[in-house]
Amino acid sequence: MIENTGVATKEDLAQVEPSLERREKGPVAVFECFQEIPCNPCYTSCRVGAVEEFKDINDLPHVDHDRCTGCGVCISHCPGLAIFVVDQSHQDYAVVRVPYEFLPVPSEGQEVDALDREGNVVCRARVRKVQNAKSQDKTLVVWLEVPHEAAMTARNFRVVKDR
């Protein structure tokens, strides 16, 4: 269980994942936040009102996946780094956007190892884009192109030396 391992279970994830149908329409946020903690920047940072208003600051976040535009603004505002954006509208690959606070910063077009929720390598990924605007305050957002099978498992990556 996540309280013992720090890793979300299938059941946990089933509660928060947008449907495949929604993911195939275009980018959408996945909030992997499962514990009531006093925190709400996801709500205050979303400009389109896709995150339900917090009645109590300890509430769990709820995203309306139909209203969410997948803009990704919330990713770098979440202190838990618990938000990802998934886009399965492309034929050949899925795009997963992940928060990243490490060095080295990969370059666009570079190949990296995509990692799952336990840090295991899932597949190779191509870096499509690296966002590092001032408003993100040093939490970069990296766009990974991965096979569709990895869309819901790839949640991190590692820059590997060129082989």
Binding site: N4, P38, C39, N58, H77, P79, G119, D137, T139
Partner: protein
């Protein structure tokens, strides 16, 4: 001859609790001094390079170190007189304190005090825990985030509370490999989002495990960990070794209350608040008239609550001094109290709520 410097209020400790207290007092027109033994303001915040939780009014999503800068600037702008590298050594009967700065003594006196000295780290007993390479979590943070020095190449962290989890993450950011995080309790004590963050880096979190021994001649070379049973005793045969040169301890904090004892504040032992804590009323005034407390010294909690407590204590002290507009101050106090309550309302605030209730009960009983 030592001259006496007199103020309306003195705030001891310039962390997230002390800073807002000084800002509120100065805003109300009081003559305020703030004293901190470090060379810069901000307390624990100066080491915290991660984004903060809490609500936006407590600057959630901003990095701790940046919050420290914002608050310190505000305090100076409001005219708070700041003494840095100055340690308060004693509190005497006639409301006089002795301060050591640059190897000289300064005597100061104030009508109101806000004590916001924070907390100190707990140690853990195991063979060789005095070998170089065994660090408290705070020391690792200071080395890395303040001085830019790597503590070693490969680390094992003890404690899966927020501090242990965050420091493990920061170690990896600094280029140090983290072999594992061990936690004696069966559950992760810190926020699960922090745990998930370190798990995604491939760091195992071994719950129900403890350190039994550290090995090495001149410095840490290896550490043995073992599984623990329900009574927290290591289970023979479950030992395993990790080759590391750093062992980080993040096993809890206890309030730094020496000055409160000296001042004669009524104290109670409340484990949920970190140890001995001062009895106080809803405005954070202790049993000593005009002596207020805020932040970790009043019960180990969070920077977000420390900031609110600081505000509340500062406002209450201003009221006591007869500064500021009474209705304005009372309204601001009510707001701070409500915000504190909402912060503590959730399941992770359970421990603090229970602790505060226990303190109130204890105080009533005597």
């Amino acid at each position: 001859m030592i001259s006496l410097r007199a103020y309306d209020a003195i705030v001891i400790g310039g962390g997230p609790a002390g800073l807002p207290a000084a800002i509120e007092l100065a805003s109300c027109g009081a003559k305020v001094a703030m004293i901190d033994r470090e060379d810069r303001l901000g307390g624990q915040l100066t080491k915290q390079t991660h984004m903060f939780f809490g609500s936006q009014s407590q600057r959630a999503g901003t990095r701790g170190v940046d919050i420290a800068g914002i608050l310190a600037k505000e305090a100076l702008e409001k005219g708070v007189e700041v003494y840095l590298g100055a340690t308060v050594l004693g509190y005497y009967d006639d409301r006089v304190i002795a301060v050591e700065k640059d190897e000289r003594f300064i005597k100061m006196k104030a009508t109101a005090y806000v004590v916001a000295t924070g907390a100190s780290e707990k140690m853990l007993a195991f063979p060789n825990n005095d070998l170089p390479g065994v660090y408290g979590a705070g020391a690792i943070q200071t080395l890395m985030n303040v001085h830019g020095v790597m503590p070693g190449k490969r680390a094992l962290m003890v404690g899966a509370g927020n501090i242990g989890l965050i420091i493990s993450y920061q170690l990896v950011q600094a280029g140090v490999e983290v072999a594992a995080i061990v936690e004696a309790a069966p559950r992760i004590g810190g926020y699960w989002v922090h745990a998930s963050k370190v798990r995604r880096l491939g760091i195992p979190v071994l719950t129900s495990h403890t350190v039994t021994q550290v090995h090495g001649t001149d410095a840490v070379e290896r550490v043995t960990v073992a599984r623990v049973d329900d009574s927290w005793s290591p289970v023979p045969g479950t030992e395993r070794d990790f080759d590391v040169d750093v062992v980080g301890l993040a096993v809890g904090l206890s309030p730094l209350t020496e000055l409160l004892w000296q001042a004669g504040c009524a104290m109670r032992f409340v484990p949920a608040l970190g140890g001995h804590v001062p009895v106080r009323n809803e405005n954070l005034e202790t049993s000593v008239d005009g002596l207020f407390v805020a932040g970790d010294v009043a019960g180990v909690e969070e920077a977000s609550s420390a900031m609110l407590e600081g505000r509340l204590a500062g406002l209450a002290a201003a009221l006591k001094l007869g500064r500021g507009s009474v209705t304005g101050v009372m309204k601001a106090m009510e707001e701070a109290r409500l915000e504190l309550e909402s912060l503590r309302a959730g399941p992770v605030g359970d421990k603090i709520r229970k602790g505060l209730e226990a303190l109130a009960r204890e105080a009533m009983a005597s």
